[in-house]
Structures are given as C-alpha cells and as structure tokens.
C-alpha cells in the first residue's frame, strides 16, 4: 500500500529522473490531491533555473575563478615579501639601537697623575742643590723636634734674631 509519506520521500528522485513511478504510485497520485499538489511543487522546484544554468560556460567560469585565486596568491606573496622586509629592517634597527652606534666604544679616561694634582708651586726650592732638597724633604718627613741632616739646629736656641735670619737666608738661597 502506497502512503502519502512514501510517495513524498520518492518525489525528489523521480523529479531528477533517477527513478520512475510504479503503477501503484501513479494510481495513488491520480486519486490523492495533496500528493498531486506536492508533486507539482517538487517537480517545479527541481527544474528552477535549469535553463539559466545550462547557459553557463564551465570553461569561462573556471578561468575567472582560477584567475582570481592566482591573483590573490600573487598579492599575498607580495604582501608577505613586504612584511618580511619590514620585519628584517625593524630587526636591524633594533640591533643597532641595542648594540650602540657602529664606532669604537668609549675609553675609560685614565686618572690624572697624582703629581699633576698635588703640584704646588714652591719657587723657593728651585735654587736648592739636590742634597739640600733631600735634607728639606727629610726634615718634612721627620718628627717634629728632631734635627735635620745637613742643618745643625742644635745651637739655634742660642742665636739672636739677626743670626736666625741669616740661617733662613741661607736655607732660602
């Protein structure tokens, strides 16, 4: 027994020409208004636009579609190339900034000689002979109150002002 549901299930395949109606199905269609209406709907829907698409040229459509895909691939490769170049440039700039400018590194200045810093002009010492200078240096280094070699100061207490001046004059040249 053919039911409306069985017929409904077979309609798309019959409309596409894949199968045909059996005698029983045809007889059901002849007597069932709802199935006839549905068959009218399915057969019309199945053929919608068939004349239109028959006119489409597969070769032309393929060329257009593949042409667009090729163009898009080329464009993507170009963009990729620019992106890579941009990244490389940015990396190079970053490297230069990170590593400093391309020149010898800064020298650490040597500390100036102590003598340069401690230089005190004493023109009075310029005229002294080396032994006298050594005696003066020795006297500077010696504890206060001790005698200085080359200068006999043991009797200075007994000298008057004129004699002391004379000794100083000798020391200063």
């Amino acid at each position: 027994m053919t039911t409306c549901e069985q017929l409904s299930d077979r309609m798309p395949a019959v409309a596409r020409g894949q199968i045909g109606w059996s005698a029983e199905e045809e007889s059901h269609l002849a007597t069932c208004a709802e199935c006839r209406l549905e068959w009218e709907l399915i057969s019309a829907a199945s053929g919608l636009g068939r004349d239109l698409t028959a006119a489409l040229d597969p070769h032309h459509v393929t060329e257009r579609v593949l042409g667009r895909l090729r163009a898009e691939r080329r464009s993507r490769r170009r963009r990729m190339g620019w992106a890579v170049a941009g990244i490389a440039t940015a990396a190079a700039v970053a490297l230069v900034v990170w590593a400093g400018p391309l020149r010898p590194g800064p020298r650490i200045a040597a500390p100036p000689p102590v003598a340069d810093v401690a230089e005190i002009p004493l023109p009075e010492l310029d005229s002294l002979a080396t032994p006298e200078l050594e005696a003066v240096l020795h006297a500077l280094d010696a504890p206060i109150g001790t005698s200085v070699e080359g200068v006999d100061s043991s009797g200075l207490d007994d000298l008057d002002t004129r004699e002391l001046q004379h000794v100083l004059d000798r020391l200063e040249g």
């Binding site: 596409r16 894949q18 199945s46 068939r50 698409t53 489409l56 459509v61 579609v65 895909l69």
Partner: protein, 182 residues
Amino acid sequence: MSPPVRADEPSDAALVAAYRSGDEGAAAELVRRHLGAIGRFLYASGAGRSDVEDLVQETLFRAFRKVDSWRGDASFRSWLLTIAGNLLRDEYRRRKGRQMISIEDRDLPDNADPEADLAANEAERRIRQGLTTLPRLQREVFLLRAQEGREYGDIATALGTTPGAARVHYHHAVKRLKELLK
C-alpha cells in the same frame, strides 16, 4: 541538471585532494560538475537572473580559497551550496534587505504551448517568491532535498543540524509552499 559522474571518474574527494596538490585541472572538473547545481540553488533562493553567473563565480572562488576546511563529512556539493547560501545572505544584507527577485526575472514562455508555459511560469514565480519568505534553514533544506535529492543525513551535516530536524524543516517548507500553489 549537473553532468553525471561515471564510476570510472575520480570522486569529488579525489579531485579536491588533487587541487590541493596544485592540479588546476581538478578544479576545472569540480566546476564542471557543480556549476549548474550552484546556479539553480542561487536562482531558486532569490538571486536575480542577471546576478546568477557572478554569484556562482563568487561561490566557487570562496570555496576554492578555503577548500582545506572541507573535511568530507558532508558531500562536496552540499558544502558548496551552504557557501552559496551564505553568500546570498551577505548579498542580501549588502543590499539592505532589498528583494533580489525582479519582474524581468520571470521566465518568458516559449512558443510551443503558450498557455501551459504561462501556467508553469506562474507556478515557478510563486514558488520562487514563496521560497524567499521561508526561514533560511527551511529553504536550504528544501532545496537540497527537492533540487539535489540529498539524503537527510547529508543535509543535516552540511547545515549543522540533525537528520530528524532536517526532515521536519523539509515538511514545514513543503506545507507552506503548497499553500501558495492552491
């Protein structure tokens, strides 16, 4: 109707694999097989006659561009038709909801049987108009089933629903469209 695929011809899956490997001839064969189905689907879904060719090209362009996303769960054709449906929705939004079917889109009768042709074309026009008023899922289930003869399982996979739900959508669509033909 699309050209039939002979038993000795490569399957859609084999052609897709060949295209992924760089064989553009495989793409040409896929276009030949599915061009008509995409065009009929778009036209039945409300695309104007003059827009069909451009929309078919755009559908195929989008499909080949993201062909890696086709995993073979649904048939390649059903997958293509869902892309066509998305494209049509985008186009509809771009035109801010303006109806895409225009008066000149009505088929002109040929001279063989003018009265029968006129009646057939009137039925076709009403069906197309009716299809555009259906919810999208109902319309796409109906067209995948009525135009392409797809099984509910394949339709469900392509549209992201269940076979049972696809069957219900189909029967709702048939019921509403039958009302328009009475």
